[in-house]
Symmetry: C2
Subunit: 382 residues, 2 copies
């Protein structure tokens, strides 16, 4: 018999990569997982090993030598194809230190207030890495693409559903063409080739923008008058008023999430810890903070008494310099603070809130920012 009848033949998830045991799965097929929160604050650059994984479809298995990137410019009808070697040799290598954060990061906290639909992510669906490859603004400029305020860069992955429809997303052309936008066609993460789970051999990194637009296993780029028509661009990754429910939602009324709002999370001590260390009347608390759109975190305030008093944290972040500046802060901020704890306090509740360079801050609670998909879930972390 020539015909194989194993399960594997019909199972699109038969050829998934091996994963680190440090990752805690939220779903197996597609694979979605985040690391334990406390690991995040140990490294300014998140190791690939436990960088969260958010897949929407089975992981493609692509040979670098066979890889092709197609580029189409709708206005001219022109199409061009690039091998990975083309990208590595015909264009300068550029890099960026940038966060990738899932649109559903911290969803579980919003879900606890009132049920939302989506994977029940904790606060670790985020990582901060060094991404290197070809700067999209260089690439498109070389191809003769002209700036335009209302065009889009449509991105398609090699990952596809059973009907062969690929994962897709788009970003504004303005972001792609801005050299300070730092959009990278990345073939390296933290100095190594991308792993399969992170888009090998080529993905897009869109600093400041929700993870969902950072398309992995990039197959095609189209410069278009229209946004991507994919499910994920049109009918997902959008937020609505708390009074919008599944009976009255009209996805056309909200813009696709691009830049992420300001957020923060407490990573250590673990919120469930039974016993915490108090030294000189203070507890040491650590976490991360981040704001999309290149906005810098300027302050993180912590309270152990429901806001009666706030302690301002020490920040670890990149300084303005050659590739970092106002509106170009794409890495995260790690913070540490010693919070005074009242003697004899049995239950300790800590809140964190971050402020960014636009002086935007997190909302206090999830009540008035609740949205049916549980995205951009950025209230104070408690």
């Amino acid at each position: 018999e020539d015909q194989q009848t194993t399960d594997d033949q019909d199972n699109p998830y038969a050829n998934e990569p091996t994963r680190s045991p440090l990752l805690v799965p939220k779903s197996q097929t597609p694979f979605n997982a985040e690391p334990p929160l406390s690991l995040l604050v140990d490294n300014f650059i998140t190791p690939v090993e436990f960088f969260y994984v958010r897949n929407h479809l089975p992981v493609p298995d692509i040979k670098e030598s066979e890889y092709e990137l197609e580029v189409e410019i709708e206005a001219t009808g022109k199409t061009k194809t690039f091998s990975l070697k083309d990208l590595k040799t015909k264009f300068a290598k550029s890099g960026v230190v940038a966060v990738v954060m899932c649109g559903g990061n911290r969803r579980s906290e919003m879900n606890a207030v009132k049920e939302v639909r989506g994977l029940n992510w904790g606060a670790a669906a985020v990582g901060n890495a060094v991404w290197e490859g070809v700067r999209l603004s260089d690439f498109l400029t070389k191809l003769g693409v002209k700036p335009n305020e209302s065009c889009h860069v449509v991105l398609e992955g090699y990952d596809a559903d059973p009907t062969n429809k690929p994962y897709g997303a788009s970003i504004p052309l303005t972001k792609a063409m801005d050299p300070r936008g730092d959009v990278i066609l990345a073939y390296q993460m933290n100095g190594e080739n991308l792993t399969r789970d992170h888009g090998y051999p080529l993905r897009v990194i869109v600093p400041g923008v929700v993870g969902a637009r950072n398309v992995k296993w990039l197959n095609k780029i189209t410069i278009s008058k229209n946004e991507s028509d994919s499910h994920w661009q049109q009918n997902d990754y959008k937020a609505f008023s708390p009074s919008t429910d599944w009976d009255n939602v009209d996805f056309k009324t909200a813009p696709a999430i691009q830049n992420m709002p300001v957020t923060s999370a407490i990573c250590s001590p673990n919120p469930l810890e039974k016993q915490v260390k108090i030294v000189d009347g203070c507890m040491e608390v650590k976490g991360y903070a981040y704001s999309g759109g290149g906005n810098r975190i300027i302050r993180v305030d912590i309270t152990a008494n429901q806001g009666k008093s706030w302690v301002t944290a020490d920040l670890q972040q990149l300084s303005d310099g050659e590739n970092v500046g106002p509106g170009r802060h794409y890495a995260w901020t790690l913070w540490t603070v010693k919070v005074p704890i009242e003697k004899g306090q049995k239950v300790i509740e800590i809140w964190s809130k971050a402020v960014d360079s636009n002086y935007n801050c997190q909302p206090e609670t999830f009540k008035n920012t609740w949205n049916l998909r549980g995205v951009v879930s950025n209230a104070y972390n408690r």
Copy 2:
């Protein structure tokens, strides 16, 4: 006797311009005034007549023919001088529709929660106008200024204190050099020459950025490694944690406000109105919303029942096009909504909250964003 002994000679405020009776003064010397809130929503472009006025010093009286702008590039030591005619004839005329908003707009609401220092502005220390003049990015590029992530554009006015120290501010060079930043050396407002109160004959318009950096009566531009050393840049127009008071504040620890956070205000009906019109069980409510940094307002939600249910407002705003696009929305958004009012409700309390294109939203209350200077006062408007 040659010597004059009138009060006027010693009074630096003797030569102030005449002002519209529509403006309600907050202080006379220097002159600071805002219009009645309800006037704001009648015009997408705020008439000059009742555009709020925020002066820090006496108003200079400058003849256009004698006006000079000095430009210094610190790195090269080069200095150049321009007449207004130079600016009007040697450079293309560019324009932008942009909000100018006082850093203290809505301070009175924060002040009502706990006392802050500063002029007790209502929610009308804001206006939206058409500004035309020379694009600063064109101007600096022509002068040979090169982009740099950590340099500043220091701006000095012709207005000065008794010791001859001028009003001063600075903005990041990155903002000034970005063609999409739309910084304008403006000689026209709403199609006419600037009025004296708004900076005649030349002021800087820095779209998306706090009013205080939109220096009027512009005297000098310096490209510098350092921010302006003025009082207003260094020791004012900064925000701190609610636990920072006048005894422990260190102004060096906070960045000078540049981009303003997302905000909104209810302009009509007047909050003190005794009788409101209810038609078909609904009350019509109007207001403005705005977010700094070029972020677009994507939604305004209104509640008449403390957030139990929210109604989403209709928005009037500029669309993406030739000079408006993602991250380049510098005009405000006017909004209108019909809010259902329960029958027999005696006291009606309306809240407004806006969401911007980064999905940032306003904080719920002033309690946890209170700051000693009462700036960036952007909680829900009630």
